[in-house]
Amino acid sequence: MRLEHIVFHNLRRRKGRAIFLVVGLLIGVATVVTLLSLTDALGQRAQQELENFGANIIITPQSDQLALSYGGIQLGGVNLVAQEIQQSSLVNIDEIPNRRNIATIASKVLGTVDVDGQRVMLMGVDPAAEFKLKRWWSIAGRPVQDGRELVVGDTVARRFNLTMGDSLKINGQDFIVVGLLAKTGSQDDQLLVAPLPVAQEILGKQGLVSMVEIAALCHDCPVADMVNQLQVVLPGVDVQAVQQVVKTRMHALGQFRLFAWGVAVTVVIIGALLVFVTMMGAISERTREIGIFRAIGYRRRHILHLVLMEATVVSALAGVLGYLTGVAATLTALPLLDGGKASWQWNPSLAVAAVIAAVFVGLLASLQPALRASRLEPSEALRAL
């Protein structure tokens, strides 16, 4: 027979109150776990989307002149003769400290070619990297692989009335159309896309690339730092972060996370109040019992021990069940919120934190009732003696 024995017997006898307390705290813990898990899963999903969205770092040849185009509109017949980047220098990218954050490196060469007497922009790409980077591209047919193959932008296809399998003469050489790019509403509609080595040959730019797009895995990845690192290993080029996209997404995620925390804190406070009120009621209900304990020689700290241990048991149980309920709610809600694209991943830290937080809140809310119980004078508690 120890004090723990009394605690467990009391909880067993007052099942209704114990269940009420567990459920009250459980709801709080489950809400917090659900919100944080959802935020985490959606955040990761947003991150993946961000990575899929395309490049967030662009490397272009250095130029001392200001750009004279905006939104695809070239001003007043100004033509900038672009320099090129040595393709061989790109191996230096592997030397940057954050190289592990680099998901895709898509080099491309750009130039104009003659098709049936009209000037059309040809883009040579590394097919594996480019089509991975531009996941929004919808291609009827297939991407280019190697050899003289073309994927044709929507505007170009309509201009030259091209369909799958058609042949197209570029600078006097025959190419086969293997894919038609669905309308994107961007400059991509006006492109002919060919494999990089073929395009370099056609354009007379062997060993050169016009620009490089890099997709960095941005979950806790410092894009700004990476830009600086790339600038160091690639002297003579401009490296720029596409910060607008990143910042907008991160801001939205930050807002959602703040909202989640706000709701979580509110629910936890309500849970704590519920524990406090219930424990106060329990102490009033057990006044006589506490009087007996005190009369037979229990010290104040023994009473404190009894009440706080009860709170610990109930809170820990609520923490475990609340965590499990929160995970179940997350798994139920995720498909509804994100069309099943986001996935839940077990986070042991959250599991441990949920139980510790539940016990902490339970103990904090029970402290005042426990102190009140321990301060009960046996003579007052046993008025009916």
């Binding site: 037979i296 229990y298 003696l385």
Partner: protein, 235 residues
């Protein structure tokens, strides 16, 4: 040998402007091994006297010494230890914990001691056997009769081998036959050398006591021991 010594003990309850004097300058000594009955009408101060002796209610004035210890000079936590080691309580309404069985109720004072689990259990079961309930150990209070509950309460009060047993109307809610059984049990304990102070209304219990104290309005009206030379403050 004196076990208890009360000197000029006064207890006043103050409630706003009202002041009720429950005990007035009571001086009393009780020898070890005494079975003292405390009688008197309602409001005479019997229960207050028991509370003061039980280290439950501190007196407004005066000193209470038990086994040469000034109990109200002790730190409150030490008073709790004193109650556990020196005093056994038997309450009128048994005051058993309803969710613990008879054995566990008897072990209750031992729950905070450093005895081994086996020793606690052994002492509690021995005590239940002594009060005649060897076959009721695992019964909850609600499964026991009034007399059995009272005997469990007596076993609980004795499990720590306290020098002093304080009983408040232990037969108050029992029928005559059961009252007799309980008083027989207390008498047996007394004959084994146990000091017992018992508050009662029931004049039928008088024969069990070897000393009787009559209280009225917080004063000792009559002390049967006065004839034998024990000190009492009679009106």
């Amino acid at each position: 040998m004196n076990l208890i010594n009360l000197e000029q003990v006064t207890k006043r309850y103050i409630n706003g402007a009202d002041c009720v004097t429950a005990l007035q300058e009571i001086s009393l000594t009780v020898d070890e091994g005494t079975f003292l009955g405390v009688m008197g009408p309602s409001g005479s101060g019997k229960s207050t006297l028991l509370s003061v002796l039980g280290c439950l209610t501190s007196p407004s004035f005066g000193t209470v010494t038990i086994d040469d210890i000034d109990v109200y000079g002790l730190h409150p936590e030490k008073q709790a230890d004193f109650r556990r080691e020196y005093l056994g309580f038997i309450f009128q309404s048994h005051n058993l914990i309803p969710y613990l069985n008879a054995l566990e109720n008897v072990m209750l004072p031992l729950a905070v001691s450093k005895l081994s689990a086996a020793e606690k259990r052994q002492r509690a079961s021995n005590m239940l056997e002594r009060v005649g309930l060897p076959d009721r150990m695992l019964h909850l209070p609600q499964q026991l009769s009034g007399g059995e509950q009272e005997r469990v309460a007596i076993a609980r009060s004795l499990v720590n081998n306290p020098p002093l047993l304080l009983a408040d109307e232990p037969t108050g809610s029992l029928d005559t036959a059961t009252s007799h059984q309980v008083m027989s049990l207390l008498s047996e304990l007394h004959q084994d050398g146990q000091t017992i102070i018992m508050v009662t209304h029931n004049r039928d219990n008088l024969d069990w006591f070897d000393r009787t104290l009559y209280l009225r309005d917080g004063l000792i009206e009559k002390d049967s021991a006065a004839i034998n030379g024990s000190f009492s403050r009679a009106v």
